[in-house]
Amino acid sequence: MAFFARTLPYAADQGTKGWRDLGPCRLFRLGVFGLFLALWSEPAQLQELIVHRDIPQPRLTQNEARLYFTLRLQNWPTGQRVKVFVLADDHELHRAFAKQVLGLFPYQLRSIWDRQVFSGTGQAPITVADEAEMLRVVATTPGAIGYLRSPPADPRVRSLEVQ
């Protein structure tokens, strides 16, 4: 998968810039290749971990990102309370974010949240309806953390790199 993910931007670039110079046969082959990529392209989707602009730190480790999204760590290093927002379990962006950024399957996240909520040992994140609402709540809630498909243009939120 990782191989396809890395080659996708390159292939797309080739396909759009140089198609006039190509013969019909190569065009056809590119088309088949493109179709193939399209079928495999779900994992290649970009996800951005976003936070409210008042969060100063530039990056998170994957372990820290997991701790915040599983609500085991409830405060930023500054002491401010973390407010976690997610999309529904079956949302494709949630699935991709869980797998690729957190390295967890969505059902594992759900099981961790359920264990906490129904044993009195913790809480669950707040589910928002769609990506527009995700941007709105993270932009307007101090301490908020969430995710989007691509880096937001909104100055009230920042992207955080996950290493």
Binding site: Q62, Y107, S119, I126, V128
Partner: protein, 410 residues
């Protein structure tokens, strides 16, 4: 009380599915600033309800199942609030109607305050006080919540529903610590207090509801140690509870004298998760010592044992199939049950001291708030059945169970 449980369950079952469509869009929407504010302040409310139908070929399980029964209803509601980084409180009330075992009277499932002493990205140390669920095995802490179980009924040879309170909860305190390392997370819980008991325990220990009363005796000790890889794919656990229960005889008409039962419940757990599969297995030991009950109690020392192997496969994110094999024995020293049956003068048949069961299950989760389940089990032996629901003389050795469940949550 059962009417109240019925009413609550039906109201939730009818209400929450329609909620499912709109709930996620209103949780943080502009038109509900009150709810949004509460959530942002660290306040949460969650709940669930389930209705289960059971049909058995013979033997009663959760009510009059040979004729088909819908006598298994659960409703639960919990609230939690994080005052600040150091202080967290949570409580849950559950109403269970379960055949002849529970009549739906609401009870406090847990109610606690959690004080955090250390909390960093690598370390977590705190203490919980109050009524606490025992962190035993993969499922005990949330055993009554359908969404956290792998099938309608948990593997009964480890998680007896006939005697839930052997493991259920403790009134006391527990220290909990977690240490994250590069190769995984270690979590330790150590605690003590008074075991929370109920009448079913007396039925299981003494074979009936005598004129006396069974209750907790002295201090229960609880411990658990878990290891999980950083991606939580592999989880390994060792957990246990050591408790003593005492019976206060009910006068001259009581066939037993005042006595004590000491139990140590130990569970070894392993779970492995992949995108499509979850494999789980647990091995439990339950040594029990009965003392001073007089000549009419046939047992003194028993060494109970139970284990299961379970595989769950996700056909789609919303559709899961399950296959499980389990075995359990009242006394691993005599797995065929003959010696124990002889001790009762043949009143209890040998097959009541063991169970071997195959289970197949299917779970469909059409949305985040609704779950539909089916389960089929074929069992050889009646060890997992409650004597409160079954007269030993009427037990049938080989029996089938078919169950359907609808559950909702918010």
């Amino acid at each position: 009380m059962s009417r109240l449980t019925h009413g609550l369950a039906w109201a939730l079952l009818a209400f929450v599915p329609s909620l499912g469509v709109t709930f996620s869009s209103t949780t943080a929407a502009d038109d509900s600033p009150f709810w949004e504010k509460l959530q942002e302040k660290g306040f949460q409310i969650h709940g669930f309800a389930s209705l289960t139908g059971v049909k058995t070929s013979a033997n009663r399980f959760y009510g009059n199942s040979p004729d088909g029964s819908w006598d298994d209803i659960e409703v639960g509601l919990n609230v939690s609030y994080r005052f600040n980084p150091r202080v967290f409180v949570a409580g849950q009330v559950i109403s269970r109607q379960a055949g002849d075992m529970y009549d739906g009277t609401p009870s406090l499932d847990y109610g606690l305050i959690d004080l955090s002493l250390v909390k960093t990205a690598d370390q977590d140390l705190g203490v919980r006080l109050g009524r606490l669920k025992n962190p035993l095995g993969l499922y005990n802490e949330t055993r009554d919540v359908p969404f956290t179980r792998p099938s309608i009924f948990l593997p009964q040879v480890v998680y007896f529903d006939k005697a839930r309170n052997l493991l259920l909860s403790t009134d006391g305190l527990m220290l909990h610590g977690e240490q994250a390392t590069a190769h995984g997370t270690y979590a330790l819980v150590l605690g003590g207090g008074q075991a929370v008991t109920d009448e079913n325990l007396e039925w299981v220990f003494l074979g009936g509801d005598g004129p006396g009363k069974l209750g907790p005796h002295g201090l229960s000790l609880i411990g658990s140690l878990w290891y999980a890889t950083p991606d939580e794919r592999l989880r390994l656990g060792l957990s246990g509870v050591d408790s003593t229960f005492s019976y206060e005889a009910g006068g001259p008409e009581d066939s037993y004298t005042s006595g004590q039962t000491h139990t140590t419940y130990l569970i070894l757990s392993a779970q492995y998760n992949t995108e499509l599969w979850t494999f789980s297995s647990e091995y439990a030991r339950l040594p029990m010592q009965y003392r001073d009950y007089g000549p009419y109690l046939p047992y003194s020392d028993l060494d109970g044992e139970g284990y299961y192997f379970q595989a769950a496969y996700r056909f789609r994110p919303d559709l899961e199939g399950l296959l499980r094999y389990e075995e359990g024995f009242t006394d691993r020293g005599g797995r065929d049950g003959q010696a124990l049956s002889d001790q009762t003068g043949g009143y209890v048949p040998p097959f009541d001291f063991y169970a071997h069961a195959w289970t197949a299950g299917l779970t469909w989760t059409p949305n985040a708030h609704v779950m539909l389940r089916a389960q089929y089990s074929r069992t050889n032996g009646t060890y997992t059945l409650s004597v409160r629901e079954n007269d030993p003389a009427d037990l049938i050795k080989d029996w089938d169970l078919f169950a359907l469940q609808i559950a909702v949550r918010f």
